[in-house]
Amino acid sequence: MIFKALVADREIQLKLRVESGKPIVELQEYSPQLDLVKLTAFSYSLLVDGQSHHLSIQPSRNGFKVDIRRRTYHVRLQDELDITIAKLGLKDASLNQSGKVVAPIPGLVTSVNVATGDKVGKGDHLLVLEAMKMENEIRAPLSGKVTDVHISPGDTVEKGVELISIKGREDLK
């Protein structure tokens, strides 16, 4: 699996595989010898090619808070799906500020939560688009009124296809 780690304004590309029960991480074409053990509730020892690091790792809402050498790093791991979306340039396409909600990736519509005429708030769940074996919840990019629903459950859509139209509050004034 390919991860991307976002940490301290950097993007670090990581490849992860498991060999005979042990995780192998590849970092820019190089696989350091890794050994992580748990010490106490939050405290871990990580050896990277024998280099000893005493870490504190706390999962947080957005990823991980990692304390190392009196420094705190916030690490966000992005998995293949996220990376693919980002590559397609469609990341957060459904969260733009226009009233057009488009499919960020090709997929199957499995459910639709709104109908024409509904009022929606920004972030409300509109529909579920199944793609890459994941259910992706598509949310409202702005508050307003649903003016059109272009799809139904069971529809297969191509990326970029308009799914739902919303007229924003500003427009409604």
Binding site: F3, P23, L36, K38, T40, L46, D67, R70, V75
Partner: protein, 502 residues
Amino acid sequence: MICKVLIANRGEIAVRVIRSCREMSIPAVAIYSEADRGSPHVLMADEAICVGPAASLESYLKVDHILAAARKTNADAIHPGYGFLAENATFARAVQEVGLTWIGPSPETLALLGDKVSARRLAQESGAPIIPGGLEPTADIEAAKAIASEVGYPILIKAAGGGGGKGMRVVTQPDELRPAFERARSEAESAFADNRVYVEKIIEQPHHVEIQVFADQHGQVVRLGERECSIQRRYQKIIEETPSPFITQQVREELGRLAISIAQACRYRGAGTIEFLVDKDQNYYFLEVNTRLQVEHPITEMVTGFDLVAEQIRVASGEPLSFTQEDIQPRGHAIECRIYAEDGFDNFTPSTGTIVELGAPSGFGVRLDHGIREGLEITPYYDPILGKLCVWGQTRPEAVRRMARALEEFRVVGVQTTVPFCLAVMNHHSFIRGEYSTRYIDDYLFELEAWSQADTENLSEVAALGATLFTTAYESKLADHSNVEEADSNWVRLGREQQVSR
């Protein structure tokens, strides 16, 4: 003799006092606010009495509650620590009036030295230079003009009623005086309800140097060397050392003699500190007297070998000083880093939260005085000091390296602390050479932060690897060297077992 001491304080200084009490076989009573029920000073004391809710005004500053706690526990002496009521003459008098021993200078001394004007006059009469212009405050522009032309520009206008930079103005030329004076006066009026200001000579690249003195009730006064306290943020010390790497031996002797004269002039009793400003040309000026134990007293203890808290208690009991001036032979070099719950690289903003991990440094020459523990919540109610890390070395370079090593060992997770800032200072060329004034942080904060961020590239990679393995650990299996199950979960398991077997 004192039989039981109530410590009218909290945190690291309460812990510090408990330790000396215990070594003297004197029971120690802690007081605590509701927010501090689980604090180390409560856990370590022989007895602990709640004196009110979290807010200091309702607890640690509540004189009648404190006296009631002393009565309830039969304590016969009160140690005020530093801060809170330590320099409060009214409190000291109240303590004495109910028949308790006050471990500190007399209420009269507290009152005399607590007033800037009378303190400066006393110092001047004892032969100590004061900052030119700084003897008495004024609200009159003509008087201000006269002082300014006497001491020479640039001058500093400073509110008489308080500190913290309010009502402060730098004036470089005579024609700027009047507008600056007016503005400073009105700021001072609204901030402190006192429109008087000092018109003082500006001291360039000042050093903050202080002399530790000790006096008993039998007229004996000694000095225990100086402390250099020039590394400050917001006019508050953060790193101190002794001896000063800056002052000459001649200045050291002169300051020491003046400190003794001042202590003698006010018939001082107990531990006290005479503070001076020293300019870049080694000219010095009396600043004020701290009529209590200083935060930074441990470095003096480390070089002299004397337990200043135990000595305070003995002196308050009426005993003569246990050492003479000749016994005081400072040895080696000591440094203190104050560990505040503040982010040194974010404007020293206070940080609150729960300490989820605490790894204390130790080993040769390392002393840690703290009042925290794992699981303790750092609340916004009190001073953000968590503890003080002090080291001793044969030489200054050895002490600096030892402090760097100890700071590297120090693990506090859950709140931001000044550990990274202090570590950067220990690795900074200017501090290593011992060349710094109170302008140090202003001048070098950028360099310090750059040093601190230097290995971000490598460490952020390690952090990413750690998070990745942490994630996979819950799929495969992580070697667990923690071996600890919560009492709770034991309890739950036990309950389950009991249900089964009944």
